[in-house]
Homo-oligomer: 311 residues x 2
DNA sequence: TATCCTTACGGAATTCGTAAGCATG
DNA sequence: CATGCTTACGAATTCCGTAAGGATA
């Protein structure tokens, strides 16, 4: 058996069973891929892929059983390499974070600054995307650490740790009727055209839920993907923005005013996640602890090695 | 990286860092071993073994970190192969049980008979040894399933499941003073020369403990490794035997009489164990369930995938 | 001096890419 | 006929065992 034979198998599934594309992705020839797959199949004694004539259709029953083991194997190989690198490169390395806009824009800068100071040999990649994209990057091994709200909790192969709780605030232009110092209510909010996050993002469900429970129908006129866009439209006086409160920290001095709305909507919890079976390098532990101080190395390791809280 | 490079590393540790012996054990040449180790070290970029000149002394610090990953990798390779075999051989295969004498002699026969009936293509190996030997065979991958009392509980890489509780009985020749129908007491027992298990076996600690707590000093004249030996000496009228009660089931009709002692000594629990990261074939689940009906496939899988009950 | 690891070298086996073949939508 | 997988073949590489070398107890 050979690790060379495993990569094509994993990639074939990811590429929708098109060997030509697998070859392209793995930078090798298509017959090579074809052969390695068949070699593994002969060695294991079972067909992994279902074929119609010369075309691959999907996984066979043994294939479905074998695939997770193949993936585990490949992940172990990466872990082994990483473990070596940690000592070999002594603090140098790469760290890929996948996260949503809100985190990347408002929470990470401080953490990243401190992290760079402590680990100036580590090259940091920060990917930004929708929460489910974050999860996918983590699971495929394209990212080491994922930071997002909610969504990450549902995957068994990820370990998801709560970091902190946050809530929303309304954003209005200076002198707006809602900035009169009176406490905000859902009724008052619903009277204005609203601008907030698109449904796929940042716990929008909690916003909708709050209005629904009060029997109110909010008038969302723009659904944006991040707070910067929302604020831009608010500045154009197109409506009242509802954004994560950290997007307005230290911003009330500008043209916009933040009005606390934490009592109106259920709070969201930002989570940080890693692959359960990943080998974390020392600086990865450091990063996580810097992002959420209560998540010390011990806490993280314990969470990774313990089971799901009721699967 | 290559699986060929990993095996020598694991074996080197097991052989006490003697490459010549590693080569012998892996049926290859010594320079080959030497090279593969160095190749892996170069690829990882760190030395795995500490060397004094040309001699290997032990693991380096990176080596200690790398070793468990190497072992996991090799185990995964075995799992993958097994997974294939399960489909390819359709019910054929091998099952290696490592267990203590008491289990092998008195409990397993019934289970093995039923198992063979259900899986006549599976070749069954039954190894017998001391409890710690059982654990060792399991951990090294030389056995698939281990059955023993107590000891197995302490390893993190093993999943240990309780099967049933048992206790002791005294064994005396027909017409012996202790076979008078009166309930047995520790005092009465201590008055006779005793024959029981060697300290390394089958929960001897509970026997010693019971006497100690009553301030009695039992007079053990023979410490044997299994009940058959003990019974032989009892038949020669050399003393009173104390054996696991299942060793006397359906035996009171012979020359020997069993006298219940379950109220005198704390009960022992027989455990069944597998490697936590093993891939269990269908017939392995079957075997376990046949040995302990409450251990269904679901129960076993849940235990394997969940964490230790407080590490 | 015996043990034990490394280096050197050459033959064997494996690997891999190109080119051609063939089935299918 | 375009796409997609397999087969065929030859070059390049890798692998591996034998033999010699050198260090250490």
């Amino acid at each position: 058996m050979n690790l060379q034979q495993l990569r094509p198998v994993r990639e074939t599934v990811r590429c929708g069973f098109n060997l030509t594309e697998v070859a392209r992705r793995l930078h090798t020839s298509q017959p090579g891929i074809s052969r390695q797959i068949r070699e593994l199949e002969t060695e294991l004694g079972v067909p992994i892929f279902a074929r119609a004539g010369k075309r691959l259709l999907g996984l066979t029953e043994p294939g479905r059983k074998v695939l997770p083991l193949v993936e585990r194997m490949l992940e172990n190989a990466v872990n082994l390499k990483r473990c070596g690198d940690e000592f070999a490169l002594q603090g140098h390395g790469t760290l890929t974070i996948s996260t949503t806009h809100t985190q990347a824009r408002y929470l990470l800068p401080r953490v990243v600054r401190d992290f760079r100071q402590a680990h100036d040999g580590v090259v940091l990649h920060i990917h930004q995307g929708a929460p489910q994209h974050v999860a996918q990057m983590l699971r495929s091994g394209d990212a080491d650490i994922g930071i997002a709200t909610d969504i990450l909790t549902s995957y068994e192969d990820l370990v998801t740790l709560p970091c902190y709780r946050w809530s929303y605030c309304a954003v209005v232009p200076h002198g707006h009727a809602l900035a009169d110092g009176q406490p905000l209510t859902l009724e008052r909010l619903a009277a204005f055209p609203l601008i907030s996050y698109d449904a796929a993002y940042t716990g929008r469900t909690h916003i909708d839920e709050a209005f629904r429970q009060q029997g109110l129908v909010p008038n969302f006129i723009i659904l944006a993907m991040n707070a910067d866009v929302i604020k831009t439209y608010v500045e154009l006086d197109m409506g009242v923005g509802i954004v994560a409160s950290m997007a307005m920290e230290g911003r009330s001095a500008g043209d916009l005013v933040a009005v606390d709305a934490s009592h109106l909507f259920e709070g969201n919890v930002t989570h940080i996640a890693v692959r359960r079976s990943a080998f974390l390098r020392a600086y990865e532990f450091d990063f996580i602890t810097q992002f959420a101080p209560q998540l010390t190395r011990d806490v993280i390791e314990q969470a990774m090695h313990s089971a799901e809280p009721a699967a």
